[in-house]
């Protein structure tokens, strides 16, 4: 999830993009004119409803194909876990497929797939998201299934223990044997240590083993409730008819009474304030025969203006082959890396800006680190990387990503739900547009200087020659 939000938030609806205008040459230096283009206007016709119990429902009607996508966003993520519960949000996501009162154990997947559908879910630090793709004709059943597991989850003891084994296997498969994941988790701990973002969403082996069924059920009852959820349906559905079915299944589910006061404490900004000192390097052991690195700086939370500027900064620095750092360290005269990329990971309560890549054989990582830092300290003061053209190029790239995202019902539902869940407004993309459009190269340079300050980084490397 962490990478995808960077691009999703980097979307522009009425963007000033380049135009080839009458130039019939493949002139690579063209595109310096900026013209508005009404063909790029997007107005998403979305119907929004709020039930008395607080459930928000978004419906986007699209009858091009006899199919639809159904998303349920819960505003609960790994950052809400207390002691003894680290990893529980993700574990609970797995248990949500194991059965609820009305339809019984093992029936959820069978009904979805028997109806010609498929489903999945993901958990991040900030939210838990469930989704189904189905052919039309099944909507009443899906609504009832989702409503059933929102309130009546079983969490059977035997099933709970079996799933623990699956999650431990997932941990082994995805994290423990993968150098990229290992260095990422180390970075999160280095930057956010002592805060809820300084740990992994899946949990360590000990943390996963320490989760009890009783604690999970308590956690479920607090956070799985209509006033903490957003349902999004995109596809071949009739909004009025669908809302009747939604009301029938969800209306009687009570809101979580103490949710707001509990979340108020969990959302307290003090919990997310940076605690760790930066300005150091650390080597960790991994199986990889060529060193990989991550260079991290403190970032900003989702929705802050500076966070948007940092999105653009990260793209200019390390998104694509023409980005500044790729040109310098991968394609330059004396290449040092096989690849490099930059990312601005904006979480709801805080963020991190990072640059990562992999060294070529024979390149000394300390020499590279010094060279990279030197470059970052000076790049903000020149027009070489951050200029009118590179800012505009980034905006153009974001626009393409936007159109790509909303090509499918599934993408559309996710796009709308993310904004509704994080900002309380599915239309927030318009605000994003406005902010991105207002950012120029001077603001990017100013932010660049604030981010790349000497001593404000942590440099991590992972390699099979580092001490184990």
């Amino acid at each position: 999830m962490f990478n995808c939000y960077i691009s999703i938030l980097s979307l522009l609806v009425l963007l000033l993009v380049s135009c080839s205008s009458g130039d019939r040459q493949a002139n690579v230096q063209s595109g310096q004119k900026y013209e508005s283009d009404s063909t790029l206007e997007i107005n998403l016709d979305v119907k929004k409803y709020v039930l008395p119990n607080g459930l928000r429902v978004l419906i986007y009607e699209n009858n091009k194909l006899p199919i639809y996508s159904y998303y349920t966003f819960y505003d609960v993520g790994g950052r809400y876990e207390g002691k003894g519960l680290v990893g529980a949000t993700h574990y609970l996501e797995h248990m949500m497929f194991k059965g609820a009162k009305k339809y019984g154990p093992g029936e959820f997947d069978k009904i979805i797939e028997g109806s010609g559908g498929s489903n999945n879910a993901y958990t991040s630090f900030d939210s838990t998201v469930y989704h189904e793709n189905l052919p039309v004709g099944s909507i009443d059943k899906i609504i009832d299934l989702e409503a059933d597991r929102m309130v009546n989850l079983l969490v059977e003891p035997a099933s709970f223990e079996r799933e623990r084994k699956v999650i431990l296997d997932e941990r082994l498969r995805r994290y423990d044997t993968n150098p990229r994941q290992k260095i990422f988790l180390t970075m999160m701990e280095a930057v956010f240590g002592g805060t809820p973002y300084g740990r992994s969403v899946i949990g360590t082996v000990d943390e996963i083993n320490g989760i009890t069924r009783e604690r999970m059920l308590e956690y479920f009852k607090i956070h799985y409730a209509p006033n903490n959820a957003v349902v999004v349906i995109a596809g071949d559905v009739d909004a009025d008819k669908t809302m009747k079915l939604i009301r029938k299944s969800y209306d009687q589910i009570p809101a979580s009474k103490n949710l707001n006061s509990i979340k108020e404490g969990l959302d307290d900004n003090k919990r997310y304030t940076f605690r760790k000192k930066l300005g150091y390097s650390k080597d960790i052991y991994g199986v990889n025969p060529l060193p990989m690195f991550m260079l991290a700086f403190r970032g900003m939370p989702l929705g802050s203006r500076k966070g948007f500027v940092m999105d653009i900064l990260s793209s200019i620095m390390g998104d694509g082959q023409s980005s500044h750092l790729h040109q310098l360290f991968v394609l330059g005269k004396r290449p040092m890396l096989t690849n490099i990329s930059a990312g601005n990971y904006t979480l709801k309560k805080n963020g991190v800006f990072y640059i990562s890549g992999q060294l070529l054989g024979g390149v000394n990582k300390n020499t590279f680190r010094k060279k990279l830092l030197r470059e970052l300290y000076k790049v903000c003061n020149s027009d070489k990387a951050i200029n009118k053209r590179s800012v505009q190029k980034t905006k153009n790239q974001y626009l393409i990503q936007y159109f790509s995202e909303i090509q499918s019902n599934n993408g559309m539902a996710h796009f709308l739900g993310l904004r509704e869940n994080f900002f309380g407004d599915y239309n927030y993309y318009k605000e994003e547009l406005s902010i991105y459009n207002s950012i120029d190269e001077h603001e990017v340079k100013k932010t660049c200087k604030e981010v790349f300050k000497p001593g404000s980084h942590v440099f991590l490397s992972i390699w099979n020659k580092n001490a184990n």
């Binding site: 009858n63 052919p135 505009q392």
Partner: protein, 461 residues
């Protein structure tokens, strides 16, 4: 609790919902497929006005098989370096120019064919396609860029040990397809890539420009057709280029293959691949093959998922596939687990394959699997690029686009008995090759179930 059968949507109902429309209107509602001839190159345009974007795929009727026995990776290498410079533009100018428009571009090489895709905003299609044509016409593979790219390319072999799943796939291809023309990965072998020269790349590009048959697939608003003159005049594609790869081969089938253990250092888990090569006389029924593999390992309620993950908690993920190209096919079960559970997982897979192949398929499972496959089918085509890729593949194997329309009916007509026969044909245990990738200590465990041949992972680089 309601019983599952009461909730299950009838298979016929799902088929009708998804396949009632005519084939032209199948994916994009009122979209139409139109065909043109641009200087002897067939052009297929799918009208799609939904967004101000376009997607172009150029199909070349040859792929990695053109590399020959000791030159694997050449095609992939050449296309990967196509944007490194021309007589007119430097690499930096090319890349920056294309990325400025937000364009995506690049090649996808298979053994039998290659596609080169370009996508972006429709308003920028002209300079983007003009530049890509310039690459085909005038790529020089500059010496410095060549050296740098080759160094990066070779470094990627060294790093393969990081990704055990990809490494297991690579080893499985070599072992299960050994002796066929398809046993080398399209990216090539390290030893072969080392020998690639700039001259080889220029020769390869000339071959694709002048000899190999092409088709162009376009999806987007009508404006996408404006590129006709650019394609005709700027791409340097010879009129009448008509070579298309045909493969003739003979391959001895081993009767009782051993279990292969591909050793990697410090592996905490094992990757397991169980499958086999499908000869040319075993292909031509893709819908049936897809049903067989989907029943076994194509969703959360598939037999393998139910048993290995849900019932026993042994794996996080398991899936099966049986896929075809024009001249060959492959079938496999793919999963990973803890080393100590290796034998248990293999034995469970064996038992599931044997039961299904022996006809132990319940009506509930059969109907659910059928509905699932039919229902999810159209989701593959929601995105323009996926839809074009499917049309390309149908043309490549010589099938009509109507196959998309017929899919549901074909699956609907398969009986439980027919499914079992096919599973037995494809996944019958005696025919399977077993490849396990993990730490060398797994050998002791594997010896309990058969003769083990141990091979170091570097043999597959």
């Amino acid at each position: 609790m309601k019983k599952f059968t009461a909730c299950l949507w009838s298979v016929g109902f799902v088929i009708n919902l998804v396949f009632v429309q005519n084939s032209h209107a199948f994916i994009f509602g009122d979209s139409l497929v139109e065909k043109y001839d641009w200087n002897g190159v067939e052009v297929i345009w799918v009208k799609d006005d939904r967004f101000p974007t376009y997607h172009i795929s150029v199909y070349f009727a040859d792929g990695a098989l053109s590399d020959g026995k000791r030159r694997s990776g050449e095609t992939s290498f050449m296309f990967g370096l196509l944007d490194s410079g021309t007589n007119r533009y430097t690499q930096k100018q090319i890349i920056d120019g294309l990325e400025y428009y937000g364009a995506s571009y690049g090649a996808s090489v298979t053994h039998e064919y290659t596609t080169y895709h370009i996508s972006g905003l429709i308003r920028d299609i002209d300079p983007t396609v003009r530049m890509v044509c310039q690459l085909f016409k005038d790529a020089t593979f500059p010496k410095n860029e060549f050296k740098k790219y080759k160094r990066r390319y070779l470094a990627s072999f060294k790093q393969m040990v990081n990704d055990h799943s990809a490494l297991a796939n690579r080893a499985f291809r070599k072992i299960s397809l050994d002796g066929s023309p398809f046993d080398k990965p399209v990216e090539g072998l390290r030893g072969h890539v080392r020998k690639i020269s700039r001259k080889d790349l220029k020769k390869k590009l000339s071959y694709f420009n002048n000899k190999v048959k092409k088709r162009i697939y376009l999806i987007g608003p009508k404006k996408v057709l404006d590129i006709e003159n650019i394609i005709k005049n700027d791409c340097n594609w010879t009129e009448g280029a008509d070579f298309h790869r045909e493969v003739n081969y003979k391959m001895a089938v081993k009767k009782k293959p051993p279990i292969y253990l591909v050793t990697v250092p410090e592996a905490q888990k094992v990757e397991i691949r169980i499958g086999r090569f499908l000869k040319d006389n075993e292909i031509g029924r893709p819908a049936l093959r897809e049903f067989s593999s989907s029943y076994l390992g194509g969703g959360f309620t598939s037999k393998l998922m139910e048993e290995l993950r849900k019932k026993h908690g042994l794996v996080y993920s398991v899936h099966a596939f049986a896929a075809e190209q024009k001249s060959y096919g492959r079938a496999a079960v793919s999963t990973s687990t803890k080393r100590k559970e290796t034998v248990r997982v293999i034995e469970l897979v064996k038992s599931i394959l044997s039961d299904a192949g022996g006809g132990k398929i319940s009506d509930k499972d059969f109907n659910r699997s059928k509905s699932h496959l039919i229902g999810r089918y159209p989701f593959r085509f929601e995105k323009s690029a996926s839809y074009l890729n499917h049309l390309i593949f149908l043309d490549h194997i010589g099938k009509d686009y109507d196959e998309i329309h017929k899919f549901g009916k074909k699956i609907g007509n398969i009986s439980s008995k027919g499914l079992a026969v096919d599973i037995n044909d494809i996944f019958g245990w005696e025919k399977q090759v077993i490849v396990v990738l993990g730490h060398k200590s797994a050998a002791k465990i594997l010896k309990k179930i058969g003769k083990v041949k141990i091979v170091d992972y570097r043999k597959f680089l």
